[in-house]
């Protein structure tokens, strides 16, 4: 065995030690397996990535949004200037804000496609109704975040779109007036309006969004994606049974060292 081979086997041993250690203490490897390994039918596999696309775009929103906060100033006299600075002075400002802007636009399109896919494949039917409900809550949160983000630019476009949006809200029965005065922070549009939209866009709703995404993913994993056509739990049980049998066989072959913890594919194939 040459030196490279020795180093490689040492590295494999070390990584196994680390993963086994982590698995024993946190169960993270089993968890990752459960979250990442999904048996997917060959036919139309790309259409099942729309949910991941949505999640990816939301993550982009969080990341670029946090970056924009380093320069953005939520006051009526400086908001526009600070965005001008981001776009013209800060390095890669156009890129960061561009990603925030365009991924917000694509996000709504991705959500539409995602919902269409779930709807036309009947993915909302029992026992997955609640995940549809949680998804609709997520949709509404995203729409309000998009609306409040538009105002933060404080340019003519964003300002008048905000006026129109708030006035639409003011036609709601009984609470129209209170809703709009809550959003404006008084009885006229002004500094309080921008501060409130900033608070709602940057903290309130993203903080509300995160747990609902967690519930959405939990329910997804609880019921799987593929329904009767491709029963996930059944499939996973078969997989685990096969793995158990294989381990058992090899334990008998190796005759000795107890076989615990995670084994990767190389182990199972016996090609060490």
């Amino acid at each position: 065995m040459g030196m490279i081979g020795r180093v490689r086997s040492q590295a494999v041993d070390a990584s196994k030690l680390v993963t086994d250690w982590m698995e024993h203490r946190t169960g993270i490897v089993t968890m990752m397996e459960h979250f990442l390994f999904e048996p997917v039918p060959k036919r139309g596999a790309w259409i099942y990535t729309l949910g991941s696309l949505t999640l990816g775009l939301i993550s982009l929103q969080f990341l670029t949004g946090i970056l924009l906060l380093f320069y953005y100033v939520p006051t009526t006299d400086h908001a526009w200037n600070s965005i001008y600075y981001i776009m013209n002075e800060a390095y890669f400002g156009t890129l960061i804000r561009g990603i925030h802007y365009w991924s917000a636009n694509f996000l709504l399109a991705a959500i539409g496609l995602h919902m269409a896919q779930v709807f036309f494949s009947g993915g909302y039917k029992a026992p997955r109704e609640l995940n549809w409900v949680v998804g609709v809550i997520l949709l509404l949160l995203v729409v309000v975040i998009a609306f409040t983000g538009y105002a933060l630019r404080w340019d003519q476009d964003g300002f008048w779109a905000t006026v129109v949006g708030m006035k639409i809200g003011s036609y709601s029965p009984f609470v129209g007036g209170q809703t709009i005065r809550f959003l404006m922070g008084g009885d006229t549009i002004g500094p309080a309006t921008l501060s409130r939209f900033f608070a709602i866009h940057v903290w309130l709703l993203p903080a509300a969004l995160a747990p609902f995404i967690g519930i959405h993913l939990y329910l997804l994993r609880r019921h799987g994606v593929f329904g009767s056509e491709f029963e996930y739990t059944e499939r996973l049980a078969k997989l685990h049974e096969r793995q158990r049998l294989e381990r058992f066989e090899r334990y008998e072959e190796e005759d000795g060292e107890p076989n615990t913890g995670r084994r990767d594919r190389a182990d199972r194939d016996g090609s060490e």
Binding site: V163, K167, R181, I189, A192
Partner: protein, 220 residues
């Protein structure tokens, strides 16, 4: 659990619940409480100068811009005038005010006689009778469309003019009356007065036409 325990928990729960919820809710809703319950406004209850009546032409509205100060957060009057605080400019909310002479509308939408008093533009201060006559002949209108609040503009086509809202196509006549499109009513009118110097003054207040739509011009 005894009846006494139950009542005790209930009373304690109510007290602690109130202690935990009332401050944050009142904190966030304080502008709503101040405007709705206490009737306060973010714009001072003063008269603001619009412009001279002599500049208003016949058969066409004239646009003036009035900058109303806004008392919100760092733009609160107390903070701006406080000598100990860092000098800040107060925020203003500019309102575009459309002013026109009341005009008769003839059959087919043509403009008829204008109620422009003959003494307007002669100079000199106005008498009480003249002020009354001018006040009765003026439309002082908000540019904020009664539909969803976009600013309307005066558009002349083939000699006939109308106020047009750029957002959804609301149309109003020269007196601010509803002509077409989605708005539920005509343009909002300011509370205004005319003084001896021939100037118009407005308050940040608007009429609500009874029976049409109780909608306040929430955004202006």
């Amino acid at each position: 659990m005894t009846r006494g325990d139950f009542l005790g928990f209930g009373v304690l729960g109510a007290i602690f619940g109130a202690i935990v919820t009332i401050p944050p809710v009142a904190f966030v809703l304080s502008p709503v409480i101040k405007t709705d319950a206490l009737g306060q406004s973010d714009v001072p209850d003063d008269w603001f100068e619009v412009g001279p009546i002599s500049e208003i032409p016949e058969g066409e509205p004239k646009n003036f811009v009035v900058e109303f100060p806004v008392n919100q957060i760092y733009s609160e009057e107390e903070i701006i005038n406080n000598p100990e605080a860092v000098k800040t400019e107060g925020e203003v909310i500019p309102n575009a005010v459309w002013v026109s002479w009341k005009t008769e509308i003839l059959e087919g939408g043509k403009l008829g006689k204008t109620q422009r008093p003959a003494f307007v533009g002669e100079g000199g201060s106005l008498s009480q009778e003249q002020i009354q006559e001018v006040t009765a002949s003026l439309n002082v209108m908000s540019s904020s469309c009664a539909h969803l609040g976009c600013p309307v503009r005066w558009l002349v086509r083939e000699g006939e003019g109308l106020f047009l809202c750029p957002c959804h196509g609301g149309l109003y006549g020269i007196n601010g009356e509803y002509q077409g499109g989605p708005p539920p009513r005509g343009l909002y009118n300011y509370t205004f007065e005319v003084r001896e110097n021939g100037m118009i003054y407005v308050k940040h207040e608007f009429d609500i036409e009874p029976g049409l739509n109780k909608q306040q011009p929430y955004v202006v």
